[in-house]
C-alpha cells in the first residue's frame, strides 16, 4: 500500500511538473530560438527539396481546420510537400522576423491577414511577387484585392488567398418577434434592441448573444461594425458624441443579451443549444449551426447604424519571406491555393470565401449556401460599406484589441460612465498609436502618414 502511494506521488509530481503553467518561465528568447531548430541549410537548387515546404499561417488555427487544410485542401497539391503550421499572429510575426535577423529562413510561404503584411514589409522581410502575377492571370482575382496586395507600392507583395466576414445568424423561432416594419435583411441596431426586448417579454429569456468570451471576436464587432456604423470611423471618432450614442444603444441591446455571452468564444454552440437565437460572429464560427440544423437558421446581414451598414472584410494573403529556401515550391503552393477549384474546396471545408470573381460553385453543400446567402446580401445591401481590419499594428494588435475589450467591460459590464471611460481609453489609444506611428486606415480619414489619433 505504502509503495503504491509512493508510485502515485511520483506520477503526480511528474504530471504537475509537466502541466504546471509557469508564467515565470516566459522568456522572450523563446520564439526566436524555436525556428532556428528547423532545417536551416538552403537545399541545392537542382535537387528535389528533401525538406517539406513550411507554410506558416495565422489563419485556420482551430485543430479541425488545420486538419482539413492538411488532409483535404492540400491533398491534390503537387510540386512540393507542404508542412502547414498555424499559430497566433505575434508568434508568426516573431518567427518570420527572427529568421530574417538570423539569416536562416525556413518558412516557405506565409499566409496572414492584410493588416499583418505592412509589418513584414517594414522589416524588409517579403519577396517581390510581381513576376508571379502574370502566371496567375488565368484566374479572375478581385482587382481591389490585388491592389491591396501591393501594400501601397508598385510591387506585388502578397497574393490574395481567401476572405472572411461576419454574418448575423438567426434562429427561425425569433422571426415571429421581429418588430413591426422591420426587415431582417435590413435591420438597424435600434431595431435589434427592440427585437431582443420583444423576445424577452415573450419568453422571459435573453436570446441575443455576442462572442464576448476570452477568445471570442467581440472586439472585431466593435472595430468593424458598431464603431463605423455609428461614427463613420474608429480611432479618430473613439470618444465622439456619436460614439457615446453607440455605447448607449449597445447597452440597450445588452439588456436583452444572454449574460453568459462573457463565456462564449464561438456562437455556433450557444445557437445550437438555443441559449441564443440571434447573434453576429465570424462565418467560420457559426457555420456548424447551419451545418447541423440547416432548417432552423437563416443568415442575414449585420445591422446598420446612422452612418451605414458597415461590415468587416477579412482578407488573408499569401506572401513569401525574403530568402525563402524553396521559391519554386512556394510559387507552386500559391498557384495551387488560388485555383478556383481549391478556392471552392476552401469554402466548403473551412467557410472562408473565394477571392476570385466567379459565381459561387454550384455543388456547395446546403449549409454553405445558407451562410453564403447572408454574406452576399450583406455585400450587396444598398447601404453596405466596408471596414478593414486594423493595419500596421503588428505585434501590438493585442494591445489595440485590449483597449476595445476594456472599454466594453467598463461601460457595459461594470456600468461606468460612458464619457469618462471613452476619455480614458482614447488617451491609451492615442499613446499606443503614437508609439507605433501607425497612420489611420479605412474608414478613418487618411492621416497623411502621421499617427492616427482620437480627437
Amino acid at each position: 500500500m505504502a509503495k503504491r502511494i509512493v508510485y502515485l506521488m511520483i506520477v503526480v509530481a511528474l504530471l504537475t511538473a509537466a502541466c504546471a503553467p509557469a508564467p515565470a518561465a516566459a522568456p522572450t528568447a523563446e520564439p526566436t530560438k524555436a525556428p532556428v531548430a528547423a532545417p536551416t541549410q538552403a537545399p541545392a537548387p537542382t535537387a528535389a527539396p528533401a525538406q517539406p515546404l513550411v507554410f506558416l499561417s495565422t489563419q485556420l488555427t482551430p485543430v479541425e481546420e488545420q486538419e482539413k487544410m492538411r488532409n483535404i485542401i492540400l491533398k491534390d497539391m503537387t510540386g512540393a510537400k507542404v508542412d502547414f503550421i498555424s499559430d497566433a499572429e505575434g508568434v508568426v510575426v516573431d518567427r518570420i522576423l527572427a529568421e530574417q535577423k538570423a539569416g536562416k529562413v525556413a518558412v516557405g510561404v506565409v499566409g496572414v491577414l492584410h493588416g499583418t503584411f505592412p509589418n513584414l514589409l517594414a522589416a524588409n522581410a517579403l519577396e517581390d511577387l510581381t513576376p508571379l502575377v502574370a502566371k496567375l492571370s488565368d484566374r479572375p482575382i478581385v482587382k481591389e484585392f490585388m491592389t491591396l496586395g501591393k501594400l501601397g507600392t508598385d510591387k506585388q507583395y502578397y497574393i490574395p488567398w481567401m476572405q472572411a466576414t461576419y454574418v448575423m445568424a438567426v434562429n427561425k423561432k425569433a422571426m415571429q418577434y421581429l418588430p413591426a416594419g422591420a426587415n431582417v435583411d435590413a435591420l438597424t441596431y435600434a431595431q435589434l434592441a427592440e427585437w431582443g426586448k420583444n423576445i424577452t417579454n415573450a419568453t422571459k429569456e435573453k436570446k441575443i448573444g455576442f462572442p464576448a468570451g476570452p477568445s471570442g471576436l467581440m472586439h472585431r464587432l466593435t472595430q468593424g461594425y458598431l464603431y463605423p456604423s455609428y461614427t463613420g470611423g474608429l480611432v479618430t471618432t473613439y470618444r465622439s458624441d456619436d460614439a457615446v450614442k453607440m455605447w448607449t444603444d449597445f447597452k440597450a441591446i445588452w439588456e436583452y443579451t444572454n449574460p453568459q455571452s462573457v463565456t462564449y468564444n464561438n456562437m455556433q454552440d450557444p445557437l445550437l443549444s438555443e441559449e441564443v437565437w440571434i447573434t453576429i460572429d465570424h462565418t467560420a464560427r457559426v457555420v456548424n449551426a447551419f451545418k447541423n440544423k440547416p432548417n432552423d437558421f437563416v443568415a442575414a446581414p449585420a445591422p446598420a447604424g446612422p452612418k451605414g451598414r458597415y461590415y468587416m472584410s477579412v482578407l488573408a494573403g499569401l506572401g513569401v519571406p525574403k530568402g525563402s529556401p524553396n521559391r519554386a515550391g512556394a510559387e507552386a503552393l500559391i498557384e495551387y491555393l488560388t485555383r478556383p477549384a481549391a478556392q471552392a474546396i476552401t469554402l466548403r471545408e473551412v467557410s472562408f470565401y473565394p477571392i476570385v470573381e466567379s459565381a459561387l460553385p454550384t455543388d456547395l453543400p446546403d449549409y454553405v449556401r445558407l451562410e453564403a446567402d447572408g454574406v452576399v446580401k450583406q455585400s450587396k445591401a444598398s447601404d453596405a460599406k466596408v471596414a478593414l481590419l486594423p493595419i500596421g499594428l503588428g505585434a501590438k494588435g493585442g494591445d489595440f484589441n485590449k483597449i476595445m475589450q476594456d472599454t466594453l467591460t467598463r461601460i457595459v459590464l461594470k456600468g461606468e460612465d460612458i464619457k469618462t471611460v471613452l476619455n480614458d481609453q482614447a488617451n491609451q489609444l492615442n499613446a499606443l498609436m503614437t508609439e507605433l506611428k501607425a497612420p489611420c486606415w479605412s474608414p478613418d480619414p487618411d492621416s497623411g502618414g502621421t499617427p492616427c489619433q482620437a480627437k
Binding site: 500500500m1 505504502a2 503504491r4 502511494i5 509512493v6 502515485l8 506521488m9 506520477v11 503526480v12 504530471l15 504537475t16 502541466c19 504546471a20 503553467p21 509557469a22 508564467p23 515565470a24 518561465a25 516566459a26 522568456p27 522572450t28 497566433a88 505575434g90 422571459k204 429569456e205 464576448a212 468570451g213 476570452p214 444572454n258 449574460p259 453568459q260 462573457v262 463565456t263 450557444p270 443549444s273 438555443e274 441559449e275 505585434a395 501590438k396 494588435g397 493585442g398 494591445d399 484589441n401 485590449k402 475589450q405 476594456d406 467591460t409 467598463r410 459590464l413
Partner: protein, 287 residues
Amino acid sequence: MRVKAETILPYSLLAPTLIFVTLLIVVPIAQAFLLAFQTPDGSFTLANFQKMANDTSFGDALKFTLLLLIFIVPMQVVLALIMALLIHTRFKGHTVFLYIYAIPLGISDLAAGIAWLSIFTERGYLNSILNQLGILDKPFLFLSYQNLPAMFGTIVVAESWRATAIVMTILLAGLQVIPRDYFEAADVFGATTLKRTLFVVLPLLRPSLQNALIIRTIFAFQTFAVVFALAGRVIPVLAGESYNWYVANRNPNIAAAYAVLVLIFTVAATWFYLRFLQTGAAEAGYD
C-alpha cells in the same frame, strides 16, 4: 581516498536535482525578474509595475485570486483530510476509492474547465438534470456576470474537484508513515475513533498538512485555465492576466511583472505556513 569518496557521494547524489532546479526554476525566475524591471529595449524601469497596477483588471485579479485562495484552500484541506482518513481505515474496496479520487490528477486543468463548463452552462448537464427532476422549470444561469457569487461558486466547485486529490495524496502518504504503535497505544487506553483522530492522528499529521497547504496554496496562485473556461474575463486572476499579457497582448515585460507578484505572494504564503505551523522532529514521529 575512501574518506574523499564519502564526502563526494552526497554531493554527487544531489547534483542532478540541483542542476535540474537551477536550469528549470532558478534561471527562469531570474529571467522573469529581469524582464519585469526592463523596457522592451533593455533599460531598467518600474513602468511595467505601474502599468500593471493601473490596468483595468488588476484590482479584480488581485481580489479574486485572494478570494479563491480563502475559499478553496481550507475547504480542500478538510475534504482531503476526510478522504484520506476514510481510505486509511482500509475498509473493503478502499483502493477503488483511491483510484477514483486520483482521476482528476490525470486531467489537464483546461480540459477540466471545459468539462465543468458543459455542466454549468444554461443548457448544460446540471440544468438538464434539475429540469428533469422538476426542481427547476427554467434553466438557472450559473455563469452570468450579473450573478458573480454563482459564477465564483462554480469555479470553487470545479477547482475543488480538480485539485483536492493532490492534497489527499500528500495527507494519505503522511498517514502511512505514522507508526501503528501509536494507534495501538490509543486503543489500549480505550480512545474512541474520534478521540484517536483528534489527539493522535492530527498532531502527527502536522508535517504533511504543512506540505499540503504549501503546495495547494502555490497551485491556487497559478490557477487560471478553469477560471478562463467558466468566467471568461469577468473574473480575472493574477496568473491569467500574466498569460493574457504574454500571449494576447504580446507584452512579456508586464507578464513578468505579474509573475513576480505571484512569486512574492507565494513566498509570503510559504513563509507564513512554515512560521505558524512549525513542526518539531518529535511531533513528526521521526525520532
